[in-house]
């Protein structure tokens, strides 16, 4: 059955690593929903968070192919109930005159922050899980979204990193072995 998976990759921080990962996903026809890259807690190791859709065989194959890239140190298939998966969204919403107060009030329900304002719009920052963000955006669309950017998902397992390997599914480079 096809579902969305969140893969976390620990990769050596070398030029071109992102290109290698993305090129692999493209040429093997895996569907990436979102991808983010940044520093991890270890020097020289970057952390990528990739959301992709597929059945369990597809995801396992994706993990095994990723392990074949020289710079990929570890691949973890994060289980949604064991991880915090978050995203940041910046949204510019039409907010003239009396509507402005209403927009700001709605944003505050979601714990979103107003970053900037112009006579005709406000810019709001919101972070959260998928559902919260979708709910927030549904409300904002009522007023009119002028411009929007989403960061893509980032994720951390809930448990301490020492237990990470057991609590979440570190994809085994040795297959079903």
């Amino acid at each position: 059955m096809e579902s969305t998976h969140t893969l976390v990759l620990l990769v050596e921080d070398h030029p071109g690593v992102l290109n290698r990962v993305v090129s692999l996903m493209r040429r093997r026809s895996f569907n990436i929903d979102s991808i983010t890259v940044g520093h991890s807690e270890q020097v020289g190791v970057s952390r990528m968070t990739i959301q992709l859709r597929g059945n369990s065989e597809d995801i396992e194959q994706a993990g095994k192919q990723l392990y074949k890239l020289l710079e990929v140190v570890k691949v973890i298939d994060l289980q949604p109930n064991e991880a915090m998966i978050r995203e940041l969204v910046l949204v510019k919403v039409a907010a003239k005159g009396a509507v402005r107060a209403e927009v700001v009030q709605t944003a505050s329900i979601y714990g979103a922050r107003v970053l900037d304002a112009t006579p005709s719009s406000v810019m709001i920052e919101m972070s959260g899980g998928e559902e919260e963000i979708e709910s927030f955006l549904t409300m904002m669309r009522i007023y009119g979204i002028r411009e929007m950017v989403r960061s893509g998902k980032v994720a951390l397992p809930r448990v301490l990193s020492k237990k990470t390997d057991r609590q979440t599914r570190q994809m085994n480079p040795l297959a079903a072995d």
Binding site: R20, R27, L174, A176, D177
Partner: protein, 579 residues
């Protein structure tokens, strides 16, 4: 691709500096030599002039091919004949892009080669410099890994790791791109040591639990079948593999690249599987209840339609690459490891078996159509008869390389391969033009062995210029052109599946005998059966390259054949065939 560049400077001779300070070019040569490589195949050009400046003073023998792609194919032939890493060199830009097909060929057939390419000087990179291409970007999908070197002090370690990556784990091509200014820069040469990387630790020793599970499956099977892929040969495990087959008594089939994993004349060797496989092999796949795959990746040409592949079998898959497990075929028992290491542990665990009833059944699946058809032969020499005569004359001991197409399948069906490293063919990529340059590489690697290449008249016209290379190196290579005046395999598909619409497959060519002579080689033409064997013997007795132009029946087809998209059980058996 030779181009000069005003910035070219002759690398200074070592007497001007201390003995340990070398140019990047000299370090490149030293680093290649440190890997035990004595032969490199290449083509000079602007960005690698400094490297070529260093080659004459190095211990490397450079073979000048006539096209960079054939340097790559020669490196592949060298690697496959010797089991060592092949090495090729090309300049930046067009030189580098011409290597791409060879890298893809090596990638799909898991052949260890290292390509060194020159790059434009660093200040020009990204500015569309003369003969600049982003070769590391271009070759990303067709290399196991690639590098661009930005510091002369990194050359030795990079080349060390490149060779290690190429030959370890699942072998494959690795490219090292070196900008011209890095070739010219100097530094102290310190022979590199391999630094292990946390992210690259191929599993060679298998999990013993999996090995025992495999042994249990083998013990319980009533109609087990072993299939051998290229992995057996890449692992150098032919002897251990034969031992397992003999101990268990299990009949064994081969993929195209697995031919020679054990002697094909062995009574337990059933034949080749797949699209042009032997009838017995494909029939055995249909009936087996356990399929034990050693080092094959279940390529579609071997399996046919997956839904009809080995329909009654549980599958054991032994492979060094975990990503191959379950990629195409559902696997009951995966064993990840180097085949040789797996066999060391598995063979003691299996019981001696008797599968005589099963073997008798398989033998009964032999194709009997041929004999009658043979009585009614045309006047032309039959392609497979030529293959059989070559095999017979050489006692199955020669290295045989092939090109791609009908002649390749006839050779695979009829040669009777005795040694894995003496059957060199482009399987995964199916690269036309492969035959002659890979024979050049094979002969350079194994001058002690007789080398033949079997080529179609189409493929020969792609890489025939390598006759010049063979003459220049005075190589004893015998070239058998199976000349039917068609791009035969495409013509066969058009014959069988496109209502004989022979679109663009009739191909003319030069007088190959005169062409051979023009190159300074020997040419022989054969038009009748009676001339086949004498021509082969004459070729074997003449020094230097000899070309035999075998003019054969224009419209002979390769049978059996499994139509594309069909199951292996649905073989088209044809009028004339033989196993």
């Amino acid at each position: 691709m030779v181009a000069t560049d005003p910035t070219t400077q002759r690398a200074e001779a070592t007497q001007h500096t201390g003995p340990e300070v070398l140019t990047g070019a000299q370090i490149t040569c030293r680093a290649i030599e440190a890997e035990g490589v004595t032969t490199v195949f290449g083509y000079p050009g602007g960005a690698v002039i400094p490297l070529y400046d260093a080659i004459p003073d190095s211990g490397l023998h450079h073979v000048l091919t006539r096209f960079e792609q054939w340097s790559g194919m020669a490196a592949i032939g060298y690697a496959r004949a010797t089991g060592k890493v092949g090495c090729c060199i090309a300049t930046s830009g067009p030189g580098a892009t011409n290597l791409v097909t060879a890298l893809a060929d090596a990638m799909l057939d898991s052949v260890p080669i290292v390509a060194i390419t020159g790059q434009v000087i660093e200040p020009l990179i990204g500015r569309d410099g003369f003969q600049e291409v982003d070769i590391t970007g271009i070759t990303l999908p067709v290399t196991k890994h690639n590098y661009i070197v930005h510091n002369v002090a990194d050359i030795a370690t990079t080349i060390k790791e490149a060779f290690y990556l190429a030959r370890s784990g699942r072998p494959g091509p690795v490219l090292v791109d070196i900008p011209k200014n890095i070739f010219v820069a100097k530094t102290e040469y310190i022979p590199a040591k391999l630094t292990p990387r946390k992210s690259y630790q191929p599993t060679t020793i298998p999990n013993m639990r999996q090995v025992r599970l495999a042994a249990d499956e083998i013990a319980q099977a009533k109609r087990p079948l072993i299939m051998a892929g290229h992995g057996v040969i890449l692992s150098g495990a032919e002897a251990e593999f034969t031992e397992l087959v003999e101990k268990t008594g299990i009949p064994t089939i081969f993929t195209l690249l697995g031919l020679g994993a054990m002697d094909e004349m062995h009574p337990l060797a059933i034949g080749m599987m797949g699209m042009h496989g032997h009838r017995r092999a494909n029939r055995a796949l249909d009936e087996c209840d356990l399929l034990i795959n050693f080092g094959a990746r279940f390529d579609d040409r071997a399996t046919g339609n997956l839904s009809g592949f080995a329909p009654n079998a549980r599958v054991i898959h032994v492979d060094i690459d975990p990503a191959e497990i379950g990629k195409n075929v559902k696997t009951a028992v995966p064993v990840v490891g180097d085949i040789k290491e797996v066999l060391k542990l598995l063979t003691p665990e299996v019981k001696a078996g008797d599968h005589s009833a099963w073997r008798t059944w398989i033998e009964g699946q032999h194709n009997r159509v041929l004999r009658a058809a043979l009585e009614d032969r045309p006047a032309w020499p039959e392609p497979y008869a030529i293959i059989k005569e070559i095999a017979d004359a050489t006692g199955h001991e020669a290295i045989v390389t092939t090109d791609v197409g009908q002649h390749q399948m006839w050779a695979a069906q009829h040669l009777g391969v005795k040694h894995g490293k003496r059957w060199i063919t482009s399987g995964g990529l199916g690269t036309m033009g492969f035959g002659l340059p890979s024979a050049v590489g094979a002969k350079m690697g194994r001058p002690d062995l007789e080398v033949w290449t079997i080529i179609g008249d189409g493929g020969f016209q792609m890489s025939g210029t390598e006759l010049a290379t063979a003459v220049q190196e005075n190589l004893d290579i015998n070239i058998a052109i199976i000349n039917n005046g068609y791009l035969g395999m495409v013509r066969q598909w058009q014959d069988l599946f496109h209502a004989r619409n022979y679109s663009e497959v009739a191909i003319s060519g030069p007088d190959f005998v005169k062409l051979a002579e023009a190159y300074g080689a020997t040419g022989i033409r054969v038009r009748t059966d009676a001339e086949i064997r004498p021509a082969i013997e004459k070729a074997r007795s003449i020094k230097g390259p000899v070309l035999i132009d075998f003019v054969v029946e224009p419209e002979a087809n390769v049978y059996p054949m499994v139509a594309p998209g069909a199951s292996n059980s649905q073989m088209i058996e044809g009028r004339k065939e033989e196993e």
